[in-house]
Symmetry: C2
Amino acid sequence: MSEDDTPEIYKAALLIIGNEILSGRTHDSNTPWIAERLTEHGIMLCEVRIIPDSAEAIIETINALRGKFDYVFATGGIGPTHDDITAESVARAFNAPLEQNEEAFRMLEDHYGIEELTPPRAKMSMIPCGARLIPNPVTAAPGFIIENVHVMAGVPRIMQAMLDYVLQTIKAGKPILSNTVTCALQESILAQDLEALQVRYPEIQLGSYPHYRGGVLGLSLVLRGTRATELEAATAELIGLIRKYGEEPRALSLRTATGT
Amino acid sequence: MSEDDTPEIYKAALLIIGNEILSGRTHDSNTPWIAERLTEHGIMLCEVRIIPDSAEAIIETINALRGKFDYVFATGGIGPTHDDITAESVARAFNAPLEQNEEAFRMLEDHYGIEELTPPRAKMSMIPCGARLIPNPVTAAPGFIIENVHVMAGVPRIMQAMLDYVLQTIKAGKPILSNTVTCALQESILAQDLEALQVRYPEIQLGSYPHYRGGVLGLSLVLRGTRATELEAATAELIGLIRKYGEEPRALSLRTATGT
């Protein structure tokens, strides 16, 4: 594909399957990891849904998201126990039979040995018909790709290896670049100027995030876009705005996202 | 309400509004906090959605969730800047006019003083008609409640204060109790026994979560339910199962959720 044919960005949704996130027991560390890796690949994460280990919820959500976004990434529920129902639910969402995948079976056989390949372990080779496998270098049980839906493990270490593999197999957009400017101004002081800046740069996503650090209110201003020249121009204007109010940006982190 | 009239549990969804979570810039710490607080109040968090600062996305999602769950909790986008569009979007979702709320205006006036109540700050008193306010003890700008939708700030410290207030105003279900048993067995060894245990205790939610700690694979088994006797019986059976495989549960945390 020539550079001119590369779409600006692709749009993606992330589906996190697991009661343990909804109960508050497990803190979700996968979302920021996945968001950052996608950003590097010109894929914008546009929606995240966290749902329980429920066939009805998985089927409904997979079907809602796969029609709406270029890519869907799903994590969780591909293990050997009774609450691991992702593969069979995704098969039902696609009206595809769930079948023993010979390649997946061999992967599990290589990992466990045929004598230790008990029925619960063999269950992890049941994959929707027509899906391609995502290798699992840690515990062998593979993820899979069916059309634009990429099903991965929920355990972060395994998910990360699977995502690395997936990102090599799918089309990337233009990397999304970002600059962050922080200052001690209250955001209401800058609000009207920020709105005018946003109007002048409609292609730049301009966000304003107040935060407490050590009990002191501060402000982070984040500019995101795919065009470096435009991003730098908008950032320079923003720095000028802050100085207009007699403030010097306290920490100036002109970070260009990885990949460029 | 007598104890017998208390529903077992209420069901809730959480809507997190903010580009900064989807970009990976801000790690979401609100979900586990809210999940735990709701659990204590007999409210089960059944779905989380993270969406961008987009009016279309907010309207569509609010309307999808408010019809499906007893309670909807939303966070983010109620500040003074151009990207704070939650109040106007929720108003549109309810076909309610967005109007200056006199009580909210007074709260802001008390906090900033009338001379410092600039138009961006005054914007934070624009609330959907018919909504009740949620006080903000930190920065004054209130959240609001309209029907079963509770709109709060995204900044954790402010959200937590708002949630405390909200939980005093809404009906609670029976607290959800949980026990966690950890062991060194691989989950595939236990899988068939766990499934049989789940069948014997259909009212208990039984989850199996493998994890790596210090490079060693372990297993956490979590039992959740509203009936203490049933929960203790299922937990005792689970401990027996683990011992059957010659393992002593390595860490046994019989935690009964707060509120009981």
